[in-house]
Each structure stands twice: as C-alpha cells, then as structure tokens.
C-alpha cells in the first residue's frame, strides 16, 4: 500500500504542475500582453508600462512562471486589481458559500441516489425499477440552472416560501443561511443524483449476479441481510468512484447555481473579475478550483486502492 500511495503522490505532484502550467499559458502567454487586457483601451502607454513592471511581465516567461508557482505554494496568488487585496484572501472569503453549497448538494445526491439505486436493482425489470430509471433519465436531461429557475418559480414566485436568491451570511444564524442554500443545493444535487442512481443500480445488479450472493440466499439468509451485508458493501467500490468524481463536478456546477441564486461564492467572484478584467483573480480562482478537482480525484484513487486491493498491484 505504501508503494501505491508513493506512486500516486508523485503522479499528483506532476498533475498539479501541469494544472498550473495550463492556467499560466492561457492567462499569461496566449493573450500576448496581459497588461493590455487589464488596461483595456483607456490606459496611457506610461500606465501600461508601470502595470507591466508591477506584474513582473518584463521578465522571461519561465521566471514569471516560477515566481507565480512559488507564490501559489506559499498561498500568495497575487493581488486583485479590482479590490486591491490579496487574491488568496478573496478566495478564502468566498469559500463559506461555495463549499457548504457543494457539500449540501453532495449530501442530497447521496441521500437520494443510494436508496433509489438499490431499490431499482432489487426490483430489476419491475415497475419500481422502470420508474426509477425514468426519473433518473429525466434528471440527467434537465440542466441544473433550469431546475434552479423552476424551483424559484415554484417555491419563491408561486408559494412565497423562500426568497429567490441572495445570502445573508452565516453570522445571521444557521437556519437562514441553510435556507438560502437549500434550493440551489437541491438543483445542483438533482442532476448528480440522477447519474449516481444509474451507477448504484448497475453496481448492485452486478454484485447480485455473483455466486456468493446466491450462496448467501441458499443458506437461508434474509433478503435484508443479503442486500445490506453481502451486496451493498461490495457494490460500494464503483459507487464511491462515481460519487467522488461527481464531487469535483459539484464544485464546477456550484459556479452556475451561484449565478442563478445570486450567491456570493467563488463562481460569482470569478465572473465579476472577468467583467472587471481582474486577471489575477480569474487566474487564482481557476487554479484553486482545478487543483481542488485534481485533489478530489486523487483522494478517490486512494480510496479505490484501499477498498479494492487488486488496484494497488496494477
């Protein structure tokens, strides 16, 4: 196991280096002169030269990259041009919205998908299975931001139960904060739950066909025990993989849902930075989110290796 972990950590380091290089190439290399983008048409040549100097753009690209990555490793992602504060601090200040939103959506996804997937598999080719499959097929087809709009239409416009968006912050209390995150989390988790239902169903179906399940039934165990003890645990391996990959997707999906529900999270920070041509913020947020997704995938890989010893020896 130790060798497997060491190999995965080395691969992770290389992957993160590529992530940083990709962000750097798009923001600093492809546009030619990032300072000209930030200044737009209104900057004088002197102001442009000053900005270039302060951003270190006069140095060779390799030096710029090394300085930027070195700073990022110490938590220094540069300064926001729009707010004149460190980008790292801005990102941290938006996490209390994006992270709980993604986690709440993940909770909803797992709570809805696992029981439905197991139910569908244990009622294979019966009414309940077909119904679960139709529901998940529809769930996969509905865009998250449209479900968000429909939820606003129903619960805010028609029923008036919740506000259509905004976030008062955690300081106003747990209940109001959770209430603002509830609808976006459902809209975000619904799509992912639909994907996970299908994965759970097919994983449980695969295990149900195994000899040891037949043996368990033959020796007279109750169906509940066969499912809970012998089937579900073994079906978990592929389910954990899919659910883990979806956690990364939830981070990206949160960006869209923050816009639908006017939540001040990372996505809105990045979108605002684009309109303000605040390149350091865009660069910082994309590096942060992409690295988080890579780290989540790494954790899934490790979990996979722990759950299934065969993987470690590949």
């Amino acid at each position: 196991m130790r060798r497997y972990v060491a190999r995965r950590v080395a691969a992770l380091a290389a992957t993160l280096l590529f992530v940083s290089a990709l962000v750097f190439v798009v923001v600093r290399v492809l546009p030619g002169d990032p300072a000209a983008i930030i200044m737009g048409t209104e900057g004088s040549p002197e102001a442009l030269a000053r900005l270039r100097e302060s951003m270190g753009l006069n140095q060779p690209l390799t030096v710029q990259y090394a300085q930027w990555v070195g700073g990022a490793l110490r938590g220094d992602l540069g300064r926001s041009i729009q707010y004149d504060v460190p980008v790292g601090g801005l990102i941290v200040s938006r996490l209390p919205v994006t992270l709980p939103l993604a986690l709440l959506a993940a909770l909803f996804m797992v709570a809805a998908a696992l029981p439905l997937g197991i139910y569908a598999a244990t009622h294979h080719r019966r009414g309940g299975d077909y119904l679960a499959m139709i529901v998940s097929q529809v769930g996969i087809s509905v865009p998250q931001f449209w479900s968000g709009l429909l939820l606003i239409l129903l619960f805010s416009v028609h029923l008036g139960w919740v506000s259509s968006g905004g976030f008062e912050g955690w300081s106003s209390g747990l209940a109001p904060a959770l209430r603002s995150l509830l609808l976006p989390a459902i809209a975000l988790g619904l799509f992912q739950a639909a994907v996970l239902v299908r994965a759970t169903r097919s994983a449980v179906l695969d295990v149900l066909r195994e000899d040891y399940v037949r043996t368990a039934r033959a020796k007279g165990l109750s169906e509940r025990r066969v499912i809970n003890v012998h089937t579900f645990r073994n079906a978990l391996i592929p389910v954990v993989t899919v659910a883990g990959i979806q956690l990364g997707q939830l981070m990206a999906g949160a960006i869209v849902l923050e816009s639908v529900f006017a939540l001040p999270g990372l996505g809105r920070l990045a979108l605002g930075a684009i309109s303000a041509r605040d390149l350091p913020v865009v660069q910082g947020v994309t590096l942060f989110v992409a690295s988080s997704i890579v780290l989540i995938n790494f954790a899934v890989d490790l979990a996979y290796g722990m759950l299934d010893p065969r993987i470690r020896y590949e």
Partner: protein, 273 residues
C-alpha cells in the same frame, strides 16, 4: 449470437426519433421560422402562448418559438464541433500515449489528469478572461473538457490491441508505426469511441446552455437556449412561459441524445447491455 435489429430496441428508437426531430427543426429553422427570431416588437412584449405566438414572446416582443427553433442550430453546431475537437485531440493523445509507452505515456497521462481538473465552465472562465466570450470559446472550452475521456479510451484500446496477432503481423510485414496505428488499431477501437462521442453530445448541449446562461458563451442577440433562460429569469413572475420553453427544449434534446447514446451502447457493446 444473432445481431440485434436497432429499430427493435426501444431506447435507441426513441432516442433516434427525438434526435431526428431536433435535426429536422434545426434544418427547418435555416429555411423557415414563423417569425424573424431577431425582429423586435415592443407592443407584443412578454405575451403568453397563443394567437400568433404559440410559445409567446420575450421581453423585446420576439417570437419565442422562432428563437427556440434557431437555438437548436446553435446547440447542434456547438455540440458537434466541441465533440469533434475533444475526440480528435483526445484520440490523438491516447493513441500516441498507449503506443509509445514509457515516459511519454506517463507524461501525457499526467497532462490528461490535469485537463480533467478543468470542466467546461472553468476553461470557459479562463478563456473569457483573455478572449471575447462567444460561440468559439464555448466550443473550445467544452471540447477541452472532453479530451480526457477520449484519450483514456483510445489509450486503453491501444494497450489492449498492441499485442494482438493482427497488429504484430502488420508490424512484422514492415508496417510503419503510423500505418499500424491508423489502419489497424484505430478502426478496431472505434465502437467505444463512437459510443463516447454520442454520450458526450448531450453533455455538450448542457454545457453550451450553461455557458450562454453565464454570459461566457453565445452572445445576444443570437438565440441560444441558455441565453434565453438568462433573459427569462428577470421576468419569471411576469411570464413564466418564457423560461419553460427554452428549458424544455434543452431537456428534450438532452433526453433524446442520452437515449440514443444508451441504445447505441447496448447495440455496439453487448458487454454493458
């Protein structure tokens, strides 16, 4: 085993029918729409469905049915190009990686892992910061997000086929690396790649809509379903239909393409059926 007839497969047939309807609507919209999708009429703004406007009108009095029809062209165009781009780049990387092996394989796979950290929305954010938002940014961002899946599939196929007799025979007969890869390995890796392309298409349609909704993709006044939903959000209480039709069009399209992909997978890859 007897070959299954595609049209007797319910999922495939239903998916094919919905997708065919989408293509017909898109093609028709190039020749005919009930009204000019860009023509504004202040007197007719935010009309509910009925009369001269079966789907109602938007905040500028534009006919929603005509805009939904034209939006289908945007979805198909962005979807096709994005999937083509992702498949082209991904297959190239995967073939190269699997065939070369060694450090090149290791390096390319780490690059693919890194690209996996950039879902379409994140790439689009990054590209839009330095280039103008628009359909091209959508296509590239979505295409890039597809690269890892195609690369892994193609690499897996190469690893599986590399040692097979017909490949070894082709090499023994003096076939160069390029010829062996393109003439012998690639054609035999096609079925899973075709399934992947079909299942990627609905993902591209969803991503295009999301990017347009965020203002990172297709720009006004050109109709895109995502863009229409963004505009509709401000008028939810005045005219909810405005949000229902473009959203329904996305959902129906994605449903059709998903069914088609599932059906195709069942037919082409009996192992997963």
């Amino acid at each position: 085993m007897a070959r299954r007839r595609p049209l007797r497969h319910l999922t495939f047939t239903l998916g094919l029918a919905i997708t065919a309807a989408l293509v017909v609507v898109a093609a028709l919209s190039l020749l005919y729409t009930p009204a000019d999708p860009l023509a504004m009429s202040v007197a007719d703004r935010l009309q509910p469905p009925g009369g001269g406007h079966p789907f109602g009108t938007d905040q500028f009095g534009r006919d929603i049915l005509s805009r939904v029809m034209t939006g289908a062209v945007t979805s198909i165009a962005v979807g096709l190009i994005a999937v083509g781009l992702g498949a082209g780049l991904g297959v190239l990387l995967g073939l190269l990686s699997g065939y070369a092996g060694g450090w090149l394989d290791e390096t390319l796979m780490r690059l693919v892992d890194a690209v996996q950290g950039f879902p379409a929305i994140l790439s689009a954010l990054l590209f839009t910061a330095v280039f103008s938002p628009g359909m091209v940014v959508s296509m590239v961002a979505i295409g890039v997000a597809f690269v890892p899946a195609f690369a892994r599939l193609a690499r897996g196929s190469v690893l599986e086929l590399r040692e097979r007799e017909f490949v070894v025979a082709a090499q023994a007969l003096g076939g160069g690396d390029g010829r062996v890869l393109l003439r012998h390995i690639l054609p035999n890796s096609l079925p899973p790649l075709i399934v992947q392309a079909t299942t990627s298409f609905p993902v591209a349609v969803l991503a295009e809509a999301a990017l347009a909704y965020l203002g990172l993709g297709t720009q006004p006044p050109y109709p895109s379903w995502g863009l229409m939903l963004k505009e509709a959000q401000n008028f939810l209480s005045l005219n909810p239909w405005f949000a229902v039709f473009p959203g329904g069009a996305i959902a129906l399209t994605v449903l059709g393409l998903n069914l088609l992909g599932d059906g195709l997978r069942d037919l082409l890859d009996p192992k997963t059926a």
